[in-house]
Each structure stands twice: as C-alpha cells, then as structure tokens.
Symmetry: C2
Subunit: 566 residues, 2 copies
C-alpha cells in the first residue's frame, strides 16, 4: 500500500483555490511564504511516504493490545512516532511561545491530512494532542501552560479527550463523572469514560487526559461540567513524570477497524486533576478542542480517501481485464467513473477543509468577526463532508478492486473499515448537521449568505471564459440561498429532520465553487477537465438534496415509531 | 441480534403491490393461493427466526476453516442446514418432477430473502445450489437430472459455480481451465478457480461443482467455453457418493466479512466431469444459473438490509440519549430520518425483486415474450439496487448505533462487513448496469417503455386520491422515459459511462411506483406515510442521476489516465 503525499495538489489548492495568499499577507503569518509552505509540505510528505505509510498495514494486522494492564502498541508505531515528533510534526500550528512553529492552521491541516492518508491509526495520536494543546493555550493557567505545553508540542507527552460515558455519548450533558476539591488546589476525579482514543500509549513519557466531570453540587446538564487535566504520571517538582496517578485502562474495544489506535475504557478513581478554565466552564473549553478536532477529523476522512484513491488507481492501471483500449480496467468507463468521482470529491472536500482552516487563520490574524463566523460555519461541513467522502471513496476503492477488494490482503478493505469511525467520532455527522442548521444559522443565515455571495461573484467573474460551468455553479448557489432562507424561517426543531441533506447540499455547492476556481487557474489542464466532470455530473445532486429541505420534516415526523416497527 | 422474518410485509407486497394474483391465476401456479403462500412464508419465517438467526454471529466469530485440507464449517451451521433442508427450503421453486415443490419464484424469492436476513453466510449455500438446479433442469441430460436433481433439491448434496480464475473475473471469456475427453463420455477437467463460495462443505454428502472450461481446440473468448459437472465424489452405480474426484480446496480466502461462508481456491487436476449442454455452449448454460443467482443475490442485499434495519430500530427504541419526546433516540429527527430511509428503500428494493420474480413466473407460466423480456430487464436492477440498499442500510445501521456501531460486539459492524460482497459477486453492480444499458436496451427500449407505460397508467389512476404523490411519480417516469430514449440513441460504448446512475434512477422511479401502489392499498396506514416520505424526499434523487445520463460520457472520457494520476 504505497502512498504519495499529494504535496503539489495541496500547494495548488492553497495558492490558487482557497485564498491562502490572504493568510500570508497578514503580519501574524508573514513568514508563511509560498516557498516556505512548499518546503514544509515537501518535508512532511517525505515523512508520510517513507516512514508512516509502511506502518499502516501492520497497525491493522497487529492492533494495540492490553496485557496485564500494560498497553503495547502496533509494531513500528513507536519508531514512526519518534520520527514524527522529531520532525516537529505533532503540532505545527502551536504557539511559538511554548515551542510551537506557529504555522498557519491551513498548513497544519494539510500536514494532518497527509499523515492520515499514510497511517490513520497513528495520526490520531498527535491529532488528539493538538486538540489538547489548543484547549490549554486558551484556557489553562500560565503555570500549567509552562509545564505541559512544551512537552505536548514536542511530542514527548501525548494528550487525550475524555468526554464520553456509557450513558453520555452525543448527549455530553448527561455525564456523571465527579471531581471534588482536595483542598490544595487540585481535585480528585472519579468516573468511567469510554471510547477514549489513545487512552494509553507506550511510546510517550506521559499521557495527559482532559476529563469532563462535575464538581459537587454542580447543576445538571452541560452547565455543571468542568474540565480537568489528569496526567497518567503526576509531574514532579522538576516537571518530569513522577508517581502514577489513580487511573487505569480497564479494557480496549474490539473495533471494526483502526486497530492500531487503542480505544480505551478508562477508570479514574480519585485521580489527581487540575481545573482548566473556570468552574462550570468545561463545555466552552471542550468546544475549543472539539472545533479543532472536528476539522482534523474531516482531514482524516480526506486523507483516507486519498489513500484509498491512490490504492485503487494503482490497481486499475495494472489490472488487465476485458476489452479496453489499453487492456487495463482504467480504460473501462465505469471504473473511470468511480475513480473520477473519487478524485473530484477529494478535491471538493480538501478545498472545503483548507478554506475552513484559512478562515481560522484569518480570524486569528485579524480578529474579524466575519472570518470567525466563517470558520465556525465551515467546520461542521468540513468534518461531515470530509468523512463522508472518506467512507464513499473507500467504498468505491473496494468496488474498483472487485472481488479482490473483499479479501483483506488487498488492503482495500482496511481503508473501508478504518475510515468508517470518522463519520461517528468527534460528533456524529448527524450532530454536525444539527450544529450547522442550529447554532451556525442562528445569525439568520448571514455567514451562509456571505459565502454564497462570494460563490456567485466568482461564478459571475468566470462566466466570460467558462459560461456553462459558471452558470451551473451560480444557479446551484442561488437554489441553496433560497433553501437557506426557507430553512432559517423554520423553527429550530423542524430543521433537524433536513439537516443532513442540507449540509451535503452546501458541501456540493462549495465543491462546485472550488472546482470552478481550480479550472480557472488551470484552464487547459487536468483540473479543468475534473471540474467539468464535477460540475456537470456530481453537482446536480444538490437538487435532490434541497428537495428534502424544501419539504421540511412534516413527512418524516408523520412516520411514528409504531410505523417504523410495523 | 434477533431477527423476525417480515412475513406480513412480504404477503402484503405480493398481494397488493407486485401483482402476484396474476401468477396464481395461471394454471401452472394455480395451487399458490393466498392461504398457501401465507402458510409457506409463515413456516419459513419460523425457521429463520428460531433456527437460522441464532447462527449469524457464530458464523462471523468462528468462520469456516481449512485444517489439513479438511473444511470445518462454523458452529451450528450443520444443524441449521439440516433443519433448512428437512423443511424443504433449499429450492422451493424446483421442478416437482425431481422432488421440488414447484412453487413460484416469487415465493422462493421471499423465502431466500428471509433466510439471508437471518444468516447470510449459511443462506449462500442453498442459493448456489438453486442456481445449479436451474442450470441442470434446463441443460442437463435426463440421466444427469435423474441422478443429481433429487439430491440437490432435498439438500442432501450442494452445488457450486466455478467461473472465476485469477486472470478471468468480470471477463469470464479469459478463462483457461481445460477439459479433454476421456473417451468414455466423461471429461478430464484441469485448472484453478478462485472465489468459489462454499467450494467445500462438511454437512452434505457431496459437493457438485459446475465448472466452466475449454475443450481442446476451442476458440478463444466466450464461444470456446463449455460447462461441466464435476462432483467431489463420483457417484457409484447406485448413485451414492463413491471415489473421491481429483479436485481439492487449496486454501480459503481471508475476507472482510461473511466468514461463515468458505471462499475457496479450487484446484481441478484431471477431475472427472460430465458435459452439461452442448460443447461451446457453456456461457448460455451459465447465464441460466447467473440470472437466477443475480435475483437471489439482490435478495441477499435486501435481507441484510432488513436485518440491519431491525437491529438498528431495536437499539434506537431502547437507547436513551438527549432530549427527545420519549427519551430514546428514535425521537431524534435525524435518527428517524435514517430509519425511515432504510425502511422506505427496503420496500422499494423488495418490491422490485418480487416483481422481477413475478415476471419470471409469468414467463414460465405463459411463455409470453413480454414477460420474459421484463424479467430480463428487471434482473440487473434487482441485483444492483437490492445490494446497494443492503450496503447503505448496513452503513446507516452503524450510524444509528453511533460509537457502539463501530464496536464488533454490537453486531452492526457485521452487517456492514458481510453485505459488502453482494455488490461485487455474481457480476459487480457496474457489470449489472452495463448489462442493463447494453443487452437489456438492445430492444430499442421496448421493455423499459412498457414498464414506464404501466407506471404512468398507475399514476394516472392514483391521481384522484393522491394527486401530489401520483403527479410526482408520473413526472419522474416521464423524465426517465426521455432519458431512456436519449440513451438508446447513443452508441453502445457511450452508454457505459452513465450506466450506474441510469440503473439507480430506474430503481428510484420503480420504487416510487411501488410505494404509490402500497399507499393506494393501505391509504390510512403506515405504508401511506412511508410512501409519502419516499416520494417527496427520496424519489427526487432521480433528477441528479438523470443529469449524468443527459451528459453522456464526454466529460468522463475527457479525463485521461494521466489526469487521474496527476
């Protein structure tokens, strides 16, 4: 399963499609020149191709195991992680004040995606650490920052998120873990957490858990939740890992895929923790890391899609079968349709993720509310569409491989099994869509409207050179605008029954917009031909999706639970 | 993973939706009264619920293994199969002349689907035997029929299909297995076959292989292929299994799912075989069993979808999470959307499969060319749409289960892994679509047009009582008619790049038609509400699909292999 990080494509998208030049024009990111970005991505790409990709299969065949309470990671993961950390790739966007490179999130998003494409199970480890760094940068005391951030950023220690409990999954507010003050500024944290990715790790010096729990007498629901930092080993006076904390991994889950990433049931038994942020302010701090992680998980989907695509393309260009012009199955129209669809969707999803990252960078560099709102609006789309494209591309990859795709040795099945969880964790894709039509349209559709204005303006500008494509994108954006306005006019609960189709329609139209930009920048090249395919054949899907939105939820909610069981 | 065969729903569809009354009105199937069908389905349902469903999980956890060349099937499979055979369920549609029940294929299709819903891996065994029975009934000599059919129909022996070779998958014509005359009327068959489902079996007395091979000096391609019956044990004078034939299972594949079904690499080393049909006529005989098997595999997808649906619904009605009217997640709009979508698509796919079966029965009972053409037209749609719905429902099932769905113990993942192969074997769904736009439109679109006439006539008739739904179905059928006419006007190779979207659009419209019929028959019940959901929210997908057809393959084929690799 060789993998080649798509460095040239990422550079093209940053430069020509998602407006990264605006980021490097800010004082904050003035150092992020084209040359610098290209050098960084090239270097990261080499790590992915040469060091991480060769670990992917081993991580599936020999997943992480728990032996007598001791976690043993997959063969080669320790060495791969060491190379990753040594190269400075754990958290390239982290604050230079604590040892980070301070690179734009757009660059970090590209690096994350390529690490995911190479070895999804291992990449999840630094991705979670990034979320923790983000949360600590924003909410921790200076003391905590000084102690933990350099070690997390260097990769010496890793970070996890402990949210879910058996009765509290999508409904985080139902959690019951407790934290009581020890009287010395620390807290005793007690409770059981499930689905904790990389809840333990045998190739870092310490595993730092961010744990959501309730203080005594805290109110019910999300308002009563606080955030605690609970390290596996309590740092000693010199900041080195000291005595073991009162927590343990109870068991590992037996998952369909991503075997290289240990998914832990964690038990905290009066473990010593430090409050992060204010009491009762845990959800806000959690959302800081969640938003980062959501974009990151979207990138996991895209990386897996790229891996599955390259894997399928390589097979299609070698496998001889039937009568096709060059004898291989890539000459068959339906195989080509699958591959073109994968590639076109990957471009759309990648551009959405990178443009979300650009908005985050611009928000940070300028503090302008419009950029901040745009980042917030694009995050659930980047997460859900990126991971949907991951699942769909992996499914198409199996199909391109045909019967061989169902045999584990081919590797196609691993992509299919591994990527599936990305549509579930960090908020299921249904939760993302509810966030989009709920919280993200609470501005009355302003952020959405500004995006649509840009899409239409770009389409207008492209009309002279590519009238058919530009016209199709403009029309689609206008339909989406009407649907958005109608949706905003509906009361909140009615929006939820059409949320997923609305999110996908928005992604489809954004994809049309970015493909059109790519075609404008590469008018006689591969991007122009791919854009033509996307806009004429994939973009029309938006109409069927918007039909859901137009109907609202009346037909859906008329179906009773008894009807479903009939 | 409890399973309840949807007997009432199947009975409703047969009686009210797919016109089974026409079948029981023929002299050939006069005995298949409503009461009789209901009794048969009820009895089969009990076997599925009580005997087969409990085996499903064991088949995944302890798949078939090969130990020193001896196959050992999953725990309980032998007992499950014995009960299945004893009940007469191996081949309910087989000819009474050789011990079959002679029931309509429509009834057999329903029985097959429920056995697949209960335990897909085991059900594949009798499904393959059915294909062999069909092939022998049509093409074998009276001697062979008298010897083999009673044992296959009773389930005492099982049957397999040996088509694929490493270099000959979708392109069957590339196969190189050889058969040379022994001089005594038998042939020596030599070659290696791969992907042979149930290539061996430890709970039947003999395994009968139908093997495609070439006679000496046979022409290249499909014209040089003949069909041979090659039993594991050569029957002795009394018809009992005698000496072992020169064939063996070399190895089992390590598959993503369907572990209970051994997928064998077979080696034939001068094994004794009997020619079935004429020399060089193997492809025709093979298509007899393939068409049967294709409808059967479509039913596997539907059965798996039903299993995944019931499994997800049960969880959704028990799992408490978040604020919903009744406290469980079935109250959440997006969960309900997923469940309603699964249920609505299952109805559509099931009705398509049953109406295909009705056409087969009518063709047999009347010999009318129109029925025969309809069966041929609907077969690839039933296969591809049935299995696509299987994959999509299993995917939605995982999503309804959320994080638990990714954990193997929940069982949701097994449905997802097991059903995936149904979109690949018996001709990939891409091959089905090529068959539809190629061979099945070679009549200039006549069979398609007659179906569309019926859909529109039914919509006209429904306009008085359900104007909106009837209007939407009529409009969709008319769009499909235009697309069909445009497609027929294109030269053959240009059709292949739009074949898959065309097939799906046809299935979507057929689904609208059958939902409308269901709503007419149950105007104030659950079917009417489900039809409303399907027609207003799922049917509009056809427009985006037909956009592919309207474009043709120009944009697709403009993308070169170099573009894909760029």
């Amino acid at each position: 399963m060789p993998y080649r990080a798509p460095v040239a494509e990422m550079t093209f998208l940053l430069k020509e499609v998602v407006g990264f030049d605006e980021v490097s024009a800010t004082p904050r990111y003035a150092e992020a020149s084209d040359d610098m970005v290209q050098a960084v991505l090239g270097e990261a790409g080499r790590l992915c191709d040469e060091v991480l990709a060769p670990l992917n299969r081993a991580g599936d065949l020999q997943g992480a195991v728990l032996e007598n309470g001791v976690l043993r990671s997959s063969p080669g993961f320790a060495e791969g992680y060491a190379a990753l950390a040594e190269g400075g790739w754990v958290a390239v966007s982290a604050d230079p004040e604590h040892g980070g490179m301070g690179l734009p999130v757009a660059v970090g998003t590209a690096v994350n995606e390529m690490m995911a494409g190479a070895c999804l199970a291992l990449q999840l480890n630094p991705l979670l650490t990034q979320g923790q760094i983000e949360a600590l940068e924003h909410h921790a005391s200076e003391e905590i920052k000084a102690l933990y951030l350099p070690k997390l950023i260097s990769g010496e220690w890793s970070g996890t998120m402990n949210l879910t409990e058996p009765q509290a999954g999508s409904d985080v507010g139902a959690l019951t873990s407790k934290a009581s003050p020890n009287g010395d500024g620390t807290y005793a944290v007690t409770g059981q957490k499930i689905f904790i990715s990389w809840g333990d790790c045998d190739f870092v010096g310490n595993v730092c858990h961010l744990v959501l729990a309730r203080l005594p007498d805290a109110p019910a629901g999300t308002k009563g939740i606080s955030l605690f930092l609970v390290p596996k080993y309590i740092p000693d006076g010199g900041g080195a890992p000291g005595v073991a904390n009162d927590l343990k991994v109870v068991s590992l889950e037996h998952k369909m895929g991503l075997h290289g990433s240990p998914t832990c049931v964690m038990s905290f038994d009066g473990a010593t923790g430090w409050l992060i942020g204010e009491e009762g302010d845990g959800m806000r701090a959690m959302f800081t890391m969640m938003n980062n992680a959501r974009l990151g998980v979207g990138g996991q989907g895209i990386g897996a899609a790229e891996g599955a695509y390259q894997h399928a393309l390589e097979y299609a260009m070698e496998r001889k079968q039937g009568r096709s012009p060059d004898g291989t199955i890539v000459g068959h129209a339906d195989v080509r349709r699958m591959l073109a669809g994968m590639k076109a969707d990957i471009l759309a999803a990648r551009a959405i993720a990178l443009s979300c990252a650009v908005a985050i960078d611009m928000g940070r560099a300028t503090d302008e509310a419009e950029w901040i709102a745009r980042a917030a609006f694009l995050t659930p789309i980047a997460k859900a569409f990126g991971t949907d494209v991951g699942c769909e591309a992996a499914e198409a990859g199996v199909q391109v491989w045909g019967g061989m795709g169902y045999i584990e040795e081919s590797g196609a099945a691993q992509y299919y099994r591994d990527v599936r969880v990305t549509a579930i964790y960090e908020g299921t894709n249904g939760i993302q869509a509810m966030d989009l039509v709920g919280r993200k349209l609470m501005d009355g559709g302003e952020a959405a409207g500004r995006l649509l204005d840009e899409i239409e303006a770009q389409a207008e500008a492209a009309k002279a050179t590519a009238p058919e494509l530009a016209g199709a994108v403009w029309e689609a954006a206008e339909s989406l605008r009407e649907a958005t306005e109608a949706l905003v006019a509906r009361p909140m609960p009615e929006r939820f029954g059409v949320a997923v189709p609305y999110l996908r329609a928005f992604a489809r139209v954004l994809g049309g917009h970015f493909h059109l930009r790519a075609a404008m920048a590469d008018p006689s090249g591969a991007h122009a031909r791919l854009a033509r395919f996307y806009i004429t054949r994939l973009l029309p899907e938006h109409a069927g999706l918007l039909a859901h939105v137009a109907r609202g939820d009346a037909e859906l909610m008329a179906i009773t639970a008894e009807d479903l069981a009939a």
